[in-house]
């Protein structure tokens, strides 16, 4: 018996519901030395800013209980090098290519969207709104509904193919922000980005990260992510992509049952490079064992 794994996110097709998460797969080159990227439902690239960025100085990462903190600080190659080297590489694979963009001003998002709109190989944009909003004094764009929506409007003005808004979990009312980005034109929502966290070295009595704070990811945050995905999937009409701590097929299935139409694998790619592939196989096995013919049958059926 074969099962259908392909899904559709507002016209955007994925051969299966498993993508790799932004910042956890670089631009695919390194991972292509470990497995065939064409196996993946999709790749979300490291968030691009207009100009290249080195990001924060080291130390940038710290291990925590079942998780990790990162303060990579959006280090990326910038749009020019991305278009000349990274995108052509990814385009060689038979997988959906989602380009993540980030900016510290709304205009930066718009300029990125404009350039990427010209590239046929870019199937969709994921808009990372967890960046400090320089226009409005440093608070994250994703912290409140209004600035979050403004970013999406600016991006949608320039990019007509599907736009996925990636939400920050560090908010009181995730549903309010989800509604705002949908009203602003986002074709899909992905969540969650990392939780703000920190760690202190009691020997040196200083922070473990050069930047002081970082983003918490990995298995530790899965329960928080799953709760938010459930709430958002039940509140908005667009398809939701779930992520946060997904490591096994069982984790991924929890998100699908909660209402996510696709999932992304982030931190797990670090410690288990084949995790995305095993998750795809595991979802397929689960469907067969439980007599489902199509992955779409299990989306949102938790009760």
């Amino acid at each position: 018996m074969s099962v259908n794994l392909s899904i559709d996110i507002n016209g955007l097709k994925f051969k299966n519901p498993v993508l790799t998460a932004s910042g956890c797969f670089a631009y695919g080159e390194e991972a292509s030395e470990v497995f065939d990227l064409s196996l993946l439902g999709g790749v979300v690239t490291k968030s691009l800013t207009y100009l290249p960025r080195e990001g924060h100085p080291p130390p940038k990462v710290h291990e925590t209980a079942c998780g990790m903190l990162n303060a990579i600080g959006l280090s990326n190659v910038g749009i020019d090098l991305f278009l000349s080297e990274k995108l052509p590489f990814l385009a060689k694979y038979d997988t959906t290519c989602v380009v993540s963009i980030a900016g510290s001003k709304i205009d930066e998002y718009a300029r990125l969207a404009e350039r990427l709109a010209e590239e046929g190989d870019v199937d969709a944009l994921e808009v990372n709104i967890s960046c400090p909003n320089v226009d409005e004094g440093g608070l994250e764009f994703g912290a409140y509904p209004k600035p979050a929506g403004k970013v999406i409007v600016a991006v949608k003005n320039k990019f007509s193919r599907p736009v996925i808004a990636k939400l920050s979990p560090n908010v009181t009312d995730i549903v309010g922000i989800a509604r705002s980005v949908v009203d602003s034109g986002a074709e899909s929502i992905s969540l969650i980005n990392t939780l703000v966290g920190t760690a202190i070295d009691i020997k040196t009595r200083s922070f473990n990260l050069s930047n002081g704070f970082g983003g918490l990811s990995g298995p530790a945050i899965k329960p928080v992510a799953l709760a938010m995905v459930y709430k958002v999937a039940n509140a908005v009409d667009v398809p939701v992509i779930g992520l946060g701590g997904i490591t096994t097929a069982s984790d991924a299935i929890e998100f699908l049952l909660a209402g996510a139409r696709a999932v992304q694998v982030g931190t797990a790619c670090f410690f288990d490079p084949l995790a995305p592939v095993r998750i795809i196989d595991g979802i397929s096995d689960y469907l067969k064992q439980n007599n489902f013919k199509d992955v779409n049958e299990i989306i949102g059926i938790v009760d």
Binding site: A26, E33, P57, P59, C66, M68, N70, F270
Partner: protein, 275 residues
């Protein structure tokens, strides 16, 4: 370059000393593609504690048997778990990783400066060099540690018949003194060498300064925290000085970041910007 990822069986666990262990794995593919200075990422636990795999230099390869070995010090939780692995256990390994050492570019001889856990990659480099025709006698090998029990000095190293110089900070084995002390002494008498160093960051920093002062070519192998080990997370980045020689324009930044796991772990002397 293709990287292997899979579960490989442990074929031997040899206790070298109280806190130093040699583990050998059956890993055909990795054994065939390794160059000296490369490393592997080992996932030491089947759960999430610790979360990240741990990096270890490849110490020895046996392409005939299809085996690779590491030597490591029990430094914390992860290496503690690893020390308990025994023949038959299988364990997730990704490798080989990193750039490795360049093929010796002059025949003025090689000096290996190994501090503590820095010995393994320099052993393999020496072994490869000798197999490729470099006379043992033209390789000077310094292996140092704080104290006797922390010294990496397996029989295989002695059997290479390099010019082996053992030292400890406290004099409990070999000569009393640091690896840097020994290196300085050696550089007083001879020249034309290329230096290959691996060990604690303080040692590397001093050696780097020494080499720059004396204008001696050298390569340093660095250690950093490594969430992934294959270039996808940027967590292992270190600051390097922008160098037009290496095509790095400086566009107003006083440093660039390079990933130790991909652009390293081996860096040219003068490249790293030490804290």
């Amino acid at each position: 370059m293709r990287k292997s990822c899979g579960h490989y069986p442990v074929t031997r666990n040899i206790i070298i000393s109280d806190s130093i262990i040699q583990l050998t794995f059956k890993a055909d593919d990795i054994s065939r593609s390794t160059v000296p200075g490369q490393f592997i990422q080992i996932r030491v636990s089947d759960n999430f504690i610790p979360l990240w795999p741990r990096p270890f230099s490849i110490y020895d390869v046996d392409t005939r048997k299809g085996e690779i070995s590491i030597i490591f010090k029990v430094a914390g939780y992860g290496t503690g778990l690893l020390a308990g692995k025994k023949e038959g256990d299988t364990i997730q390994i990704l490798g080989p990783l990193g750039n490795g050492f360049p093929i010796p570019s002059n025949d003025g001889g090689m000096v290996m400066a190994a501090g503590g856990t820095g010995m393994p990659p320099l052993f393999l480099l020496s072994k490869f060099a000798i197999e490729n025709g470099v006379p043992s006698s033209s390789i000077t090998f310094i292996s140092g540690a704080r104290t006797r029990t922390e010294l990496f000095e397996p029989v295989e190293l002695t059997e290479l018949e390099t010019d082996l110089n053992v030292c400890t900070d406290d004099g409990s084995a070999g000569e009393k003194g640091t690896v840097v002390d020994m290196l300085e002494k050696i550089l007083e008498n001879k020249s034309g060498f290329t230096i290959y160093a691996c060990g604690p960051v303080g040692m590397l920093k001093k050696i780097d300064r020494l080499l720059l002062e004396k204008n001696i070519p050298g390569f340093l192998s660095l250690e950093e925290l490594m969430p992934c080990g294959y270039g996808i997370c940027s967590g292992c980045a270190v600051k390097v000085l922008p160098s037009p020689d290496r095509g790095e324009t400086d566009d107003n930044r006083d440093y660039h970041l390079k990933r130790v796991c991909v652009e390293g772990p081996v860096f040219e002397s003068g490249e790293v910007m030490w804290e």
